[in-house]
Amino acid sequence: MKLEDKIFKWFDDRFKLKELLTPIIKHPAPEYAVTNPLYCLGGIAFLCFLILVGTGVFLAMYYKPTPLEAYKSVEHIMTAVPMGSLIRSLHHWAANTMIAAVMLHMMRIYFMGAYKKPRELNWVVGVTLLLITTTFGFSGYLLPWDQLAFWATKIGTGIAGSIPILGQYISLILVGGTDIGAETMTRFFAIHVMILPITIAILLLMHFAMVRIQGISGRL
């Protein structure tokens, strides 16, 4: 018996791995889903998400969420931290690619009619995922605290603030005062690294569980 078989057997004896893994491993993927690259888009969005988590944790170790230090800490990441520039740029590119992939994924679902019975709720979860993904982008945009970050957020929160009824509350919750400042920054930071990641993780679990239970929808 080879070593890896021995290790596998050790775990199998204790956790019934074979019983658990066989249905996953043998689960058939329809031929049209394996050969058509459009079915990759959801997976690509998920890969980007994983990259964002990895690079994001790295960035959070150097980033300081206060108006005085934020810009300097990002500058430090870009110039002094080993691989810092690459990691931050990767975070940037993965973020934009994720949004593009989610949009294209949604277009595939729409034009293939993959949201129809019994997948209605997975579409609803999906639209929420789109909202969360773009909110991720919006909240992350402010964090470097450069000119673009500040002014784009000023306009963005202004736009959100003029939604009837809800707007004033959204703007108050986001900005945390009358103008973009230290309050806004810590709020955006908390939203970007705590609230949204937890929410998206729960929704992704639901999304994948539903795909798994309902199977991939039929051909065009």
Binding site: L86, T97, F150, I163
Partner: protein
């Protein structure tokens, strides 16, 4: 009555069509393709990140408004629509409409898609209305994105 009957038959026919789907086992076939695609994407991301690093402008200055200010590209269409819509409707200000339509109404409609589109067919030839709406929405988003850049 007869119209309903006909529709029922169609639905039933579709359901009874023998569905023969050829499949591959998840492992290794499906996973292999997935791993190849993911390596390509990850590689491209690293390449783009090295060639075009994320930017950092001057530090934020609340007293110096730069021009032009662009939001992220995926919000440009909201921006564009806000610029485009200059008409008050009765007591409702143009600005409020310009914000509500591309955000609240648009997302509301998106959420409702499976409940608005009751057509059971997923054959693209039998979904002319849904496809037309999708194409119109897409062209609209592209147009307002373009508008926001050109009329900045």
């Amino acid at each position: 009555m007869s119209l309903i009957e006909i529709e029922k038959h169609e639905v039933e026919e579709e359901r009874h069509e023998p569905v023969r789907i050829r499949g591959f086992p998840f492992f290794p076939h499906f996973l292999l393709r997935e791993v190849v695609v993911m390596c390509l994407i990850a590689g491209s991301l690293i390449l783009m990140a090295s060639l075009y690093p994320a930017g950092l402008l001057k530090p934020a200055d609340p007293f110096d408004t730069p021009t032009p200010i662009y939001p992220e590209w995926y919000f440009l269409y909201v921006f564009g629509f806000l610029k485009f819509w200059t008409w008050d409707i009765g007591p409702i200000e143009a600005k409020v409409i310009g914000v509500t339509l591309p955000m609240v109404l648009w997302y509301g409609l998106l959420f409702m898609v499976p409940f608005i589109d009751r057509n059971p067919s997923s054959d693209i030839r039998k979904r002319k209305f849904a496809v037309a709406m999708g194409v119109i929405a897409l062209l609209g988003i592209l147009y307002f994105t373009y508008y926001s850049i050109v009329y900045h």
